[in-house]
Each structure stands twice: as C-alpha cells, then as structure tokens.
C-alpha cells in the first residue's frame, strides 16, 4: 500500500516543497511525478501478480477514508503517472525563460496528486475531495497568464461550468450513502432500484460537466487560454478524464436506462464537437473540440455496456492527445506564441521531426492500424453494434470516427502546406524528450490493450470483420476527404454554428450565468433602492415630523425620529441620517416576522 500511496505523495510533496525551495521548482516537479510513476508501475506489476490492497484512514465518523488498489485503479493510476511525468519533463523545456515557474510547477504537481487520489480513492468522500481539488487546480492553471485579456474570464467560466455539474456528484453521493449507509465506493455500487437510477443520472451529469459533454462543452474551448502543458495534462489524464474515470468506476451501478442516456449523450457530443473541431481557426481550440468529441465516444462505449472499450480509448486517447498538444506547443513556440492556424501554416515542414510525432499521434487518434487508436476505436464500434441500442449508437460511433479523420487531416494539411521558415525553439531538448516518449506510446499502446483486458478479467467486445472494416473505411474516408477538401467547404450551412461551438440559445451562459447575475443586481438595487428613494423622502419626513411632532411621538416613527434628532448633535451630520431608511427597513423586518407568525399560527392551530 505504501508504494501505491507514493503515486499521491510524490507529487503532493513536490507541490509543497516547491513553495519552499523555489530555485529548483522544475527539478522537484519532475522528481515528484517520477516517484509517482515508479510507484504506479510497481503497483501495477504487483497487481498483475495478483495482489490487492486496501488502506483505511480516519475520516468522517462512520465514513473512513479509503484507498483501494485493484486492477482497474492500478491501470488508471499508471496512466495518470505516465502522462503527468512526461508532460512535466516537456514543461521544463516549455517554460524555459518564462516567469512564474514556482506557481506553475507547484499547481501542476498538486493537480497530478489530486488526480491520483481520485483514481485510487475507495470512498466517496475522498473522491469528492479530489474531484474538487482538481477543479480548483485547473482554475488556477487555466488562469495562469491572468494578465492577458480574457484569461481570468475563461478560467472562471471553466470552473463555474464544471462546478454546476458537480452538484450532481454531491447529490448522487448523498443518495448513495443514505441508501446504503456506507461511503465505500464498491459497497454502494450494489444499490439497485430507483436509487440507482437517480444516482446514476446524477453521476452522469457530473461526468458530463467535467468531460465537457454537450451541452457543457463550451468551457473547454475557452480553457485553451492556459499554457500548453496544462492543456496536454488536463485533456489527457486529469480534469477532463475525471468524468470518464468516474463513469468507468461507477459502471456496475448504472442501470440500463441510464446507460442509454449516457450513450446517446456521448454520441451526440462526438457529433457536435467533431463538427466544431472542423471549423476552428486555432490549432489548440481544434484539439480541444476533438477532446470533447473523443470523450463523447468513451461515454458512448460506457452506454453500450462496455466500460473496457471506454478504458481502452481513455488510454489510447491519453497518449495521442498529450502528444498532439505537446507537438502543438512546439509549433506555438516556433510561431512566436501564436496557435492560430493561419500563423502555423508550413510550420510542420520546418520542424519535421516534431511533425512526424504529430502525424503518428494524429493517425493513431483517427484509428489507422496498427496504431493504438485503431484497437480502441474498434472496441468501441464493436460494443456499439452489440448494444441493445445499436440502432442509434452504431451510426453515432461511425460518424464520430469519420469526423475524427476529417479534422485530423485538416490540421495536418494546414501544418504542412506553405513554405514558411519557422524560428528556432528554446528548450527543444526537454520538449522533444517528453513528446517522443508519448508519441511512441500512442503508436504502440494498442499491443498492450489485450494485457489490460486480461488483468481486469473483463473481455473486450467481440469484433466482427464487418464492423472492423466499417470503422476502417470511415476513418480512411474521413482522412482522404479532410486532406483534399478544406473543412470550411465541407461544413456548408453548418459552418456558422460549428465555429461558435453550437452555443444555441446563448447556451449555459444564457440559461444560468446571466439570470443569476441579473437577479443579483436586482437584489442589490432593492437594497440600494430603499436607500436612494428614501433619501428624498427622508427630508420630507423630517419636515413632516416636526409639523406633527405631538401626534408622532406616541408612535414608533416618533421615537425613531426623536432618536435621530438626538444623534444629529452627536454625529454632526443630520442631513444624511435617513430616518425614513431605518424605518422602511424595520417595516420589511416586521412584515417578515408577521409572515412567519401567520405561517406558524396556521400550522399550530391547524386552520
């Protein structure tokens, strides 16, 4: 167990130490995730040897904190550790000559530690805590360049979106705990009946928020405001992955009705965000939309009843997407910090080795054999064809595959076209090292997937030749079309909404954020309004009071005004002492009291 705990403690200790030993921040961060990597791999080896552990730590009463190491959590921990280690290595190069390293590496380490906690948490309270820390760390990282226009807003948006969906996780956990009386994850997954449906739908809501599924996908595109290593980490192994991880881990709980909803939601996301990716003019935004689309395919796999296929794709996607982002980061440095596709034209020619890694990762994502994505996408397609809801899930899965081919080909084409001489890149050594390993993984990981299935003891979905061929054809057609025809022309009338990320009806902003703010302003006006309106009335009131002093002084008003007059000499500023103000407010308070009175009277007397 101690070794498994290293996966969390390594980066956590690094996050704290960096704040003290500020000089060696990058080295500490790499060391921290390195410890985490070693711990995760050793754990994986031991688990493969048949070992299972659980640690129980003191927490809330009756609800101890637990860490569990079993095949699923060990595989996920290894995934997070591998990606965070190599992204951290890359980040050493990426941040060469830039400021704010202490903050950057400290929060990145915290981010990795929180994600490790999430994947090996054995009880809901600890999982919830990790979930929230992940959200907060991502807020800090997306808002890293807070001085640039719009960055603070983007960070806030990302946090608010995911937080609102977090509501689902809170309520789901309350439902599960009150239903089963324990907070242990594995024990609550047996809850059946209505509780399982309610909790399942709520968990799905939380997962959709974190994994940027339609209609919550808007924040992910804006979150590109963060530094590129942050994007690489949060798209492949941490923040966005948390949603998929949650559903994969909670799979035994989900009843068929919830599964269908999850599958359709995922499939629609794959479609909508796939189109969005095709219309983006910025490389990082294109990759972001693609992330949402790929997580849509994972949800679809869960919905089709095959969490193993979803796990395969999570692994393959983690390797490919982190490579793509790391490649994009190099291009960004080469193009003087811009990620606009117009500025990046031809940059692939100037940096051929990086471009090669980018191509390998891109083709792996599309699912070209024998690269990793081929195996995972095959599993998803097979699962969707075998599912009871195949009539809807299978076409959605095929469409998602086709779209992946289209937008990847479009990105490759734009990066290769033209002949611009790009500038040299500082820190390329570190960046190249991180990128090379992850790209190699995205090429070869497919061979390891059967081992993972054996380890989990859950077979991958049965493939048929026909399904495999359909998937391959969809991918290749997508690639060919995307390479030949500009994406804008392919989209036709869909171009406009695709470019805006399908924010129909103002999207989430219009539904939640704006009404809340206007209600807030109205309430403030109400408070101030009483001040402003009464300001004039108050003077009139004072004049009136002196006119009818005798009559008034018997009532409450008179008392107040008399006090006000006394205070005049005390404070020396009677003019702005608004007797009417206090009195109006007291009236409101009295009305509130009277309401409660009526309410209780009706209750007690039973009218």
């Amino acid at each position: 167990m101690t070794i498994a705990a290293l996966t969390i403690l390594g980066p956590l200790a690094a996050a704290a130490l960096i704040l003290v030993l500020r000089r060696v921040a990058p080295a500490l961060a790499v060391a921290g995730t390195g410890v985490s990597l070693a711990g995760a791999l050793l754990t994986l080896v031991r688990v493969a040897g048949g070992a299972r552990y659980e640690a129980v730590l003191p927490g809330l009463p009756e609800m101890p904190l637990r860490l569990v190491v079993e095949p699923l959590t060990a595989v996920l921990a290894a995934l997070v550790a591998v990606v965070s280690f190599f992204v951290m290595v890359y980040a050493v190069g990426y941040t060469t000559g830039e400021g704010g390293k202490v903050r950057f590496f400290s929060v990145m380490s915290l981010f990795a530690a929180a994600m490790q906690t999430l994947v090996i948490a054995g009880d809901w309270v600890l999982l919830l805590a990790a979930w929230e820390v992940i959200g907060f760390a991502s807020f800090l990282l997306i808002g890293f360049d807070f001085e640039r226009a719009g960055v603070g807003r983007a960070a806030l948006r990302a946090f608010l979106y995911t937080r609102s969906a977090d509501l689902g996780l809170y309520v789901a956990i309350f439902v599960l705990i009150s239903r089963t009386g324990t907070s242990e994850v594995s024990a609550t997954l047996g809850a059946g009946g209505a509780a399982a449906v309610a909790a399942g739908l709520l968990l799905l809501l939380a997962a959709m928020g974190k994994s940027a599924q339609t209609p919550f996908h808007g924040w992910l595109l804006d979150a590109m405001a963060g530094p590129t290593p942050v994007s690489a980490l949060l798209h492949s192994a941490t923040l966005v992955a948390a949603g998929a991880v949650l559903l994969i881990r909670a799979f035994p709980l989900l009843p068929p009705t919830v599964l269908v909803v999850a599958g359709v939601a995922g499939g629609l996301t794959a479609l909508v965000t796939g189109l969005t990716a095709l219309a983006q003019r910025d490389l990082k935004r294109l990759l972001a939309a693609s992330t949402a689309s790929q997580y849509g395919l994972m949800l679809l796999a869960v919905g089709a009843g095959s969490p193993v296929a979803a796990l395969f794709h999570l692994l393959a996607h983690a390797a490919t997407k982190s490579s793509l982002f790391l490649g994009a980061g190099v291009f960004q440095h080469a193009a003087a910090g811009s990620t606009d596709l117009a500025d990046l034209e031809g940059v692939g020619r100037a940096h051929r080795r990086v471009f090669l890694a980018f191509v390998v990762a891109g083709l792996a994502l599309v699912g070209v054999p024998p690269l990793s994505g081929f195996f995972s996408k095959d599993a998803i397609l097979a699962a969707s064809f075998a599912s009871p809801a195949a009539w809807i899930l299978a076409p959605l899965a095929l469409a998602g595959t086709l779209l992946t081919g289209l937008y990847v080909a479009r990105a490759l084409r734009l990066l290769w076209r033209g002949t611009e001489e790009a500038g040299s890149v500082a820190g390329i050594g570190w960046m190249g090292a991180g990128l090379a390993v992850l790209a190699a993984l995205s090429a070869t990981l497919g061979l390891a997937l059967p081992l993972v299935a054996d380890l989990l003891g859950a077979p991958a979905p049965e493939e048929t030749l026909l399904v495999g061929a359909a998937g391959l054809v969809a991918a290749l057609v997508g690639l060919a079309l995307g390479w030949r025809i500009p994406g804008f022309r392919l989209l036709g009338p869909l171009l406009g909404p695709s470019e805006r990320g399908f924010r129909t009806g103002g999207g989430f902003d219009g539904l939640v954020a704006r009404p809340a703010l206007s209600a807030a302003r109205a309430l403030d006006l109400f408070d101030r309004g009483v001040h402003a309106v009464v300001f004039g009335v108050a003077r009139a009131g004072l004049a009136l009071a002196s006119a009818s002093r005798v009559a008034d002084e018997r009532g409450l008003d008179g008392v107040i005004r008399a006090l006000v007059r006394g205070a005049r000499s005390l404070g020396g500023r009677a003019r702005r002492l608004q007797s009417g103000l206090v009195h109006r407010e007291l009236l409101l308070a009295a009305a509130g009291g009277a309401l409660i009175l009526v309410f209780l009277a009706v209750g007690v007397i039973g009218l």
Binding site: L60, E132, E147, V171, V564, A567, G592, F599
Partner: protein, 468 residues
Amino acid sequence: MNGMQDMPQGGGGMQMAQDLALLAPEIAVLLTAVGALVFEMLRLPKVSLPFTVIGLLVAAGLTVPLLGTETTVFSETFRVDALSEWAKLVLLPATVLCVVLSYPEVKDTDREGTVYVLFSMTALGALVLAGAGDVMFLVIGVLLSSVGSFPLVAYPRDDRATEAGMKYFVFGSVALAVMIFGITYWFGATGSTLISDLPRLSGAPLAAVFGLVAALVGLGYKASLVPFHFWAPDAYDGGPVSVAAFLSVVPKTGAIFAIAQIARDLPAGASGWPLAVAALAVLSMTYGNLAALVQENVVRLLAYSAIAQSGYFLLGVVAVGESGLAVSSLVVFAAAYAAMNIGAFAVVALAGRDLRDFAGLGRSRPAAGAAMVVFLISLVGIPPLGGFVGKFLLFGAAIDAGFAWLAIVGILNSVVSLAVYLRIVVSMYGRAKEAPVSPRPVAAVWVTALVFTVGVGLAAQVLLGRVA
C-alpha cells in the same frame, strides 16, 4: 430533551457552589471585562489588552474540564451542554483574535481600553445566548451583546461610523422591544419562562405562537437572518474592520445556538417551526449570496456573505432533534466559520476595504494573498478545508432530517457563492501594486486563522469525537 440534573442531596449552599463552579468560564469572562475596565480607568490601556487576552484564554481553558457534561444550573435556567461548552471553546478564542486584530486600529486612541471591555461583554452576551435555558436568558443575551456592540460600531466617531452605529442601535432596540413584548405572551401562555416547558405550547393559542415568533425575530436580528439583516452591511462597513469580524462571528454564532436550544424543546407536533426556519435559511442563503455578487466593497461583500453563511447554519438548526448529526454539524461549522471569516477580515484589515485595494495583493504580499485564497475557498466549501467539512455535515444533517430539498438549495447556493468569492481571488492576481503595510498583530491573526481553517478540515474526525 434536557439533560437530567445531578441533584446533590446537600443543602442549597452546596447546590449554589456547584452551579457557580459550572459557570466558572462565564464568570471568568465577566471578571476579565471588569478587570480590563479597571485598568482603563487607571489609564493603563497597555495592560488592559494583555489582561483581556489572557483572561479570555483562561476562560476557554476552564471550559475544557467541563466537556462532556450535560446538565443545567440555577433550576434549569442555564444549560451546560455540548452547544454551550463548544460555544465557549470556539467563541472565546475568536474574540481574542478580534481583540488582537483591533489593536492596530484603536491603539493610542482615546479610551482604547474600553474597546477591549466591550468585546468581552459582547462575547459574554453571546455565551449566555448559546446556553440559554430560559427565555429571560435569551433577552439578557441579546441585550448584553447588543449594548456592547453598538458603541463598538460607532467607536471611530466619524460620520460614517456614527450613522452606522445609530442605525444598528435603532434596529436593535426595535427588535429587542418586539422580542420582550412577545415573550410576555409566551410566559402568559405557558406559565413558565423555561424553554424546556415549551411542550406546553402544543395546542396553545395564538398568543403563545406570537411569543415564539417574537423570540425568533430578536434572535434573527442578532444572527442577521433575512429579513432582519438590514443593519448588518452598514454596521460592518461603518465600524472598524475588527468589529465587523467580531460581529459576523461571535454574536451571530451565539444567536444561532440559541435558536437551536429552542428547537431542542419544541413540542412533537410543531411541524411549522422547522419549515419556518427552513424558509429563513433559504432566504438568507439566496439573498446573501446574490447581493454579495455585485458588491464593490469587500467589507460589504463579506457582510452579505456572512448573511448567507447564517443561512447554512440554519440547516443544522432545522435538523435538531431529528438527526444525531445536528449538534456536531453546528459545532464543527461554527469552528470553521469563526476561523475562515475572521481570517478573511484580517486580510481586509491589511489590504483595504475596496475591491480595487486587493488588486495585485497576491503578488505584493504572496503569503497573505495565499491565505486569503484559502479563507475564501473554505467559505465556498472546497475540500479539504474546514468550511467543506462543516457544510458537508450540515447538508448531511438536513438530509438525515428529511430536508433533502433544503440541502439541494444549499448546494446550489454554494455554486453561486463561488462566483462571489472568486471575484476577490481574480483581482488579487491582477497587476501588482505597492505592498500594503502589514502590522504584526494582523499577521498573527490571519496566520492563526489559517492554521485553524486547515486544521478543522483535517482534524474533523477528532473534533467530532469530542463533540459527540
């Protein structure tokens, strides 16, 4: 119901002595106030401060051996139970922090020592409220904590403070008058001033209900619940920051605990009461958070946030008698709330009242800035900080008591509150300005508050073990 009395068979004198021993912490607070006043009269304000600090800490220390006692003193009129014991353990150190925080603001002013006396007297009022077993103690508690805090608000004696003090005074007097007026009806209907005689109210006439509501109005004003909150933002902003920190924590917690003391003894069929309290909770949470969303003045923002936090507090009150978690959730949240709220006000005392004063604080004073982030995200309720554990328990208690909808309203509100507090965080990491001066007492306060904000979160298990 009330704990049973350990009635010794000795004479009345013996009983008296035992009762006084159980009240030792309260007596110590009173003596502290008197002693500090004597030093002030001798023109030794420099002695007054350490005397107050030590006196209050001794009083808190005297509470420790009482922990676990469940009894009443002076014929059931005052309760020595978990709520009143933990009120002392939380509120007295909180008062010490506020006293220390006030030192840079009031030192070398005329009648500096009076401020410390007033802090102690107001704290005593809050403690009386938290242990009230009799309606007269409710009145005395509200009165004591009000009379002590009116002059605190008006202490700077400038126009703004005077106006705020005046407003607070008018509002407070009326609320208190209503409370006393209503309580006479209560007495008339039940024939007893003991809260434990409340079951006699069942099937009682309107007059008795009026008494109960009047008590709620008086306590609601002290706890700044909507719609009895109007004085709070003005009073907080008018007076010194340390007084705002104090008012938002000490009298408020006392009043909430007093409402819980009433809730414990309600007749079984009184289903209207929890609903009325739940309605106040919804109003306070929602109104407080939404109004805070548009404030440009951080003290006013925290004032509205404190109104919202009172709403969260009420979730625990609603569950009293229905859920075993209720009392411990109230205590844990009180401890977390005291630490994070005083901490946030301490950083305001350092940075300034305007939201613009916070621009760049995260860079010019990184440690204080980081502490502020911790206080604010704890106020939101993000784990693993104290605010999270407190809110988690409150929500859990409400759900346990069958008020799941109320917990959902609370969770939704905590989403909104995030936007409130992040406004401060975002501006803190903007362009740096010159660093504000950081007086040493203020730094001591926020460091202590930081330790407790994190500590309550991490040591929740230990704390809960002691409460339950």
